[in-house]
């Protein structure tokens, strides 16, 4: 589904943050991405969720060469991707409900459809009593829950989660992990960037390690 060939990334005139990254991500696969702070995990995910273009190399995604994709085609591609951002990126002025509903609204879904769907998912991540709370009144873990719910609400083809359990207790972390595994079972390709060794061990999935911008594929 996704193929990176000798991809490099630099921000502005800085040093290369990613160097010669090559991999093939098969549809329906599940990978962990790990590495020290500042190794480039978030940067690699940024390429995957189309927030950045690579400085060099070739990226093929959904059967398209990204270099040839025009700007107006991007929204359609992006709607197939769900992202859990490391810093959540929730909209503080919207309720948890509205935050989770945002991708559906953007895709033009109907209102009542949205409501029931969103409420169900929020219950799944244990936030049934925080439906109308706005993010600033949520605890760190609760925010993360909302961020995850928002990423999966559209049943994306590709799910990218950046440190999705850094602020939740171990029990909730495992519960959220189960959600990802379920989605993976029904066909979603998943990449989870994390430092949490326990989480990685619990799932028994292949791990990619980034070291100073270079990708080492550990298990397969």
């Amino acid at each position: 589904m996704i193929r990176f060939e000798n991809v490099g990334l630099r921000y502005g005139l800085g040093p290369e943050v990613l160097r010669d990254v090559s991999f093939h991500l098969e549809p329906g696969s599940f990978h962990f991405l790990t590495g020290a702070s500042g190794a480039g995990k978030t940067s690699l995910l940024r390429l995957l969720y189309l927030a950045h273009r690579p400085s060099r190399g070739l990226i093929t995604m959904f059967e398209r060469n990204l270099a040839e994709v025009e700007r107006r085609e991007l929204p359609a591609l992006r709607r197939r991707i769900g992202v859990v951002f490391q810093d959540f990126r929730l909209l503080d002025h919207l309720s948890a409900m509205d935050n989770v509903a945002l991708p559906l609204r953007i895709a033009g879904a109907k209102k009542d459809e949205i409501r029931s769907h969103v409420a169900e998912l929020l219950a799944w991540v244990g936030l049934e009593d925080k439906v109308n709370a706005r993010p600033p009144t949520l605890s760190g873990g609760e925010k993360q829950g909302v961020a995850i719910a928002r990423a999966v609400i559209t049943r994306p083809k590709l799910l990218l989660a950046d440190e999705p359990t850094g602020n939740v207790d171990p029990e909730r972390a495992l519960r959220l992990m189960r959600l990802f595994l379920e989605l993976n079972k029904i066909g979603t390709t998943v990449v989870v960037a994390t430092h949490d060794r326990r989480l990685i061990e619990s799932a028994g999935k292949p791990v990619w390690r980034l070291q100073a911008g270079e990708l080492k594929i550990e298990r397969r």
């Binding site: 969720y49 189309l50 927030a51 950045h52 273009r53 700007r71 107006r72 991007l74 929204p75 359609a76 992006r78 709607r79 992202v83 990126r89 909209l91 503080d92 002025h93 919207l94 509205d98 945002l102 991708p103 609204r105 953007i106 895709a107």
Partner: protein, 304 residues
Amino acid sequence: MWGPLDLPLEKDAGGRLLSLVMAAMVFLAVLALAGAFILDHSLAGWRAGVAGRLTVEIAPGSAAAAKAGDATADADAAAAASVKAALKLLRAHRAVARATPLGRRDIETLLKPWLGAGPLPKDIPVPRLISVRLKPGASLDTAALRKALRAKVPDARLDDASLWLKPLVRFIHVAESLSAAVVLLIALATVMMVVFATRAGLAVHHEVIELLHLMGARDSYIARQFALHTFKLSAIGAVLGIGAAAAILWFLGRIAALVALPVPPAVHFSHVGWAALAAVPLFAVLLAVWTARLTVRRTLKHMM
């Protein structure tokens, strides 16, 4: 559509300011337009009063009196002859509708401020006046008429009342051009202001906009949010502005009436005039919304 926007634009510091500035803009534009209308209206009034009228004056005594020695009766007769000659010439002219000699009574009324109250003694010579009314729409070569008149009746002096209107007309045209310029400037300032505000909004909410893009939002989705926001703010401002302008126009009308000045009545516009004034806020709001939309789309083009 009227719930909370996805972009937290409502919280922006610029909001109330944009409304305020919009109010000021609409206020000024309406006043400038109204001023132009008032001037135009007054000018039309003056023109109607003056246009198509001439006065021919036959000086008393001067040439005629010199010829006839000191007998006032002779002078009178000479003047009467001059009047007759002038009348004949005027009535034969194709642009003249009517030429009426003013009676002694009329002339005395005109002279009263100078010669004191009470009936003038019979023997005082006064100028004779002929009021001339032109055919409506007829164009008259005043200089040619004056020349012809002089040739036949050397005592006659043609007085074209519209002459002294000329500098006033010039002034009013300048003032009208100025007010048109003001309205244009205001439109320009409104566009600039909305561009500023929208660009600032785009900058401040850069991250949220990126987020919306990453979730698959098209530019039109984001532009719509800005347009909606700008619509709300500028509509509030426009309503305030036209309200204030209406209040001021009314108030100025009252003031003018109070101090009994020859200021033309403020609120005598035609229907077209009223419609034009009412169109100002509508136009301003549309301009603002359109500008916001365009600014957003232009700026977003450069994002990934």
